[in-house]
């Protein structure tokens, strides 16, 4: 990227050498850049706008949802002689005034001044239906505590994190060992084996699901977390590929030097390879953590009837099937479920993005 941009500067400089259009072309590229920025920014805003919808809706009361306001707002009411009347935004000779609509009429309506309710009725000519009510912001933060309690969020969080962390350990340990084996040792037929490993990526999971389910049912693993954790201790193609690619970039001289010093291959892995492979190992851990957080189908089938064991994905879906009309609570649960993954992504995005690129880039 740097070479590209420096090239750009050079060509720009060469083109404008000793000539007055220098400023013009600079201005041109500046406005071009600004327009490009604005376009990209608008597309980004549109692309992320559903998150805004979620945040705003999760802070509304159920009554606020059908009203025309985007933000959580309610019509302001004023108590006058024991009754509640709406406060309207009324155009008068001295600009807009907030007045309380006490008597509605077709052509003219009666108002009072909320600052001076004893001042008597104020008549206003025009249709009151054309008036805009006075909206006041009213955040229903209690939605979060209610959703937290109704879905039993601490339980869901505990289940999800336990399943995810145990799976992360299994994945990173097994994939490291297997990737090390594939990247450093002269196994006969290694490349064919590696091709088989990669081919498993295109295998649809359904084709193995029924016998696996029957097996887990037979050995009593259904209704427990074991089917969601144990298989991850046996490596998977995607992460082995990523780690192997990374290990191949580590110079072999280092492990050969360690071997000469009498280290066995396991010691080489622990002392030479792993200390240099942290970025890739962190990426693998993140990938599995996100996978486990996201996984819905397997918990659905293996934890059927065990509401106390389900992770966030299944728990929130079950909540929605019961409380589907409580749109504000649904959006609150959606936000609660995404906070940890999104924060983790922003904290560790460097490793994450590098890891994704590593799975796609030729050696």
């Amino acid at each position: 990227m740097t070479s590209k941009s420096s090239n750009l500067i050079q060509t720009a400089a060469a083109g404008s050498k000793n000539t007055s259009p220098f400023l013009v072309s600079n201005l041109k590229s500046f406005t071009g850049g600004a327009i490009l920025f604005l376009i990209t920014f608008s597309i980004l805003m549109a692309y992320l706008s559903p998150m805004g919808y979620m945040a705003v809706t999760s802070l509304k009361t159920l009554d606020q949802i059908p009203n025309t306001r985007i933000l959580p707002q309610t019509e302001e009411l004023f108590e006058y002689e024991g009754e509640l009347y709406p406060v309207m935004n009324v155009p008068t000779e001295d600009g807009f005034r907030s007045l309380v609509l006490v008597q509605k009429g077709r052509q003219r309506s009666q108002f009072i001044d909320p600052q001076n309710p004893e001042g008597g009725l104020i008549e206003w000519e025009g249709r009151w239906r054309t008036l805009e009510p006075n909206w006041e912001t009213d955040l229903a933060t209690e939605n979060y505590s209610e959703a937290w309690r109704l879905v039993n969020f601490p339980r869901l969080l505990f289940n999800t994190i336990t399943i995810a962390v145990l799976g992360v350990i299994g994945t990173v340990v097994s994939c490291t060992l297997v990737a090390y084996g594939f990247s450093r040792f002269p196994i006969p037929g290694k490349n064919i084996l590696f091709l088989i490993l990669i081919a498993t990526i295109v295998l649809p999971g359904q084709v193995t699901l029924i016998p696996k389910y029957a097996l887990f049912e037979r050995i009593g693993w259904t209704g427990t977390w074991l089917p969601l954790i144990v298989p991850h201790f046996f490596a998977n193609a995607y992460n082995v590929f990523l780690l192997r690619q990374f290990f191949l970039t580590i110079p072999k001289d280092l492990d050969e030097a360690a071997m000469i010093d009498g280290a066995n291959p396991l010691q080489v892995l622990l002392r030479v390879i792993i200390p240099q492979a942290w970025p890739a190992l962190i990426a693998v851990m993140l990938f599995h953590f996100f996978f486990a957080w996201n996984d819905y189908f397997e918990p659905l089938i293996y934890l059927l009837g065990r509401e106390d064991l389900v992770p966030i994905s299944v728990g929130i879906q079950q909540f929605n099937f019961i409380y589907g009309k409580q749109v504000h609570l649904i959006q609150a649960t959606a936000l609660m479920a995404l906070v940890i993954p999104v924060l983790l992504f922003f904290v560790a995005q460097k490793y994450f993005i590098q890891g994704v690129k590593f799975t796609g880039v030729d050696k």
Binding site: V202, V207, L209, P211, F234, I353
Partner: protein, 321 residues
């Protein structure tokens, strides 16, 4: 690029065979030890279950009454022809594939193309933010978008209202349902976008400069240089999108409230039919047959795609003549 071509290339030049010294043999033994978790996992969770799954297709097997399991020959396979729901499921999945696959191919290229524009400032921040929806858990994605697509209070309806257009109830009207799934899928493009962007950034600037000297315009450059050079990534993304489309379950399952709200079977994707057969009606023999049908379809399409690759995917290092 990526998994497939690398692995294929290496399999064809297997240089690690042949008689070896004692040291080599000892090293190989270590190697087997290290890859043994995968070997075990491959047999335990893949190969044996696959073979078992094939045998199940010849059985009448209900998991609630395993003792009643009986051999029924090709009955499950002949049932495929007379299963009206299977026909529906194939129609729904096929139609969706025709709409979703072009989107899955074009969207990452468009996003990466935008992010790759030379004059763009804050490229890294934009890239991170455009990627971010990819890490939002699917369950949240589904509920956020169902809210946004609500025909009364959703934001899409509100924008359309500004233009006096009525928002269709796209989650309940059968013809609109694929569109609802496409919208939900827009947030799933992050990985493909990132790989495409990385590939675009790997294109040597000299190629662009040469083309510009020859008088090529930006459109010409994009279609004659950028697209061919990133075609390996497009190929890779297409393969993964194709497999992904046949794996779709969670979104239609939740939107149809577990298959209960399913106007004109518009949510009856292949996997919904598979799940209901196997886990709701516990007919595991027929469910295994459905799984094998899916497997055969996916394998056929993947092979076709790989075969097509030699006509449109650029092979780095291969001779141009």
């Amino acid at each position: 690029m990526g998994f497939f071509t690398d692995a294929l290339r290496e399999a064809s030049i297997d240089k690690s065979r042949g008689g070896q010294s004692l040291l080599q043999k000892q090293k190989a033994r270590w190697g087997w030890l290290f890859i043994s978790p995968w070997i075990f996992g491959f047999f335990a969770f893949l190969f044996i279950p696959m073979v078992a799954s094939l045998t199940f297709t010849f059985l009448d097997f209900n998991i609630l009454e395993p003792e009643k399991t009986s051999f029924i020959g090709l009955e499950n396979w002949s049932k495929l022809g007379s299963d009206p729901l299977l026909r529906e499921a194939l129609r729904v999945t096929g139609v969706f594939m025709l709409i979703a696959l072009p989107v899955a191919i074009v969207q990452p290229i468009a996003m990466a193309g935008l992010l790759n524009a030379r004059a763009l400032k804050f490229r890294r921040i934009f890239t991170t933010l455009f990627y971010m929806p990819y890490v939002i858990p699917l369950i949240s994605v589904i509920y956020i978008w169902t809210g946004v697509m609500n025909p009364q209070s959703g934001w899409i309806a509100r924008v359309l209202m500004l233009f006096n257009i009525d928002m269709p109830d796209i989650l309940n009207e059968p013809n609109w349902i694929p569109m609802a799934l496409i919208l939900i899928g827009l947030w799933g493009a992050g990985n493909a976008m990132l790989l495409t962007l990385a590939a675009m950034q790997n294109i040597p600037t000299s190629l662009y400069e040469a083309a510009r000297v020859d008088g090529a315009g930006p459109m010409r450059i994009f279609f004659s240089i950028t697209i061919p050079l990133i075609s390996p990534v497009i190929f890779y993304n297409t393969v993964l999108a194709l497999i992904g489309i046949f794996q779709i379950f969670t979104v239609p399952w939740i939107l149809s409230r577990g298959g209960d709200r399913n106007p004109d079977n518009a949510y009856l994707f292949f996997n919904i039919h598979f799940y209901k057969t196997g886990f709701k009606f516990q007919d595991m023999g027929y469910a295994a047959t459905l799984a094998w049908v899916l497997f055969l379809i996916v394998i056929t399409l993947t092979i076709l795609l790989f075969w097509s690759a030699k006509y449109w995917v650029y092979q780095p290092g291969s001779s141009e003549s």
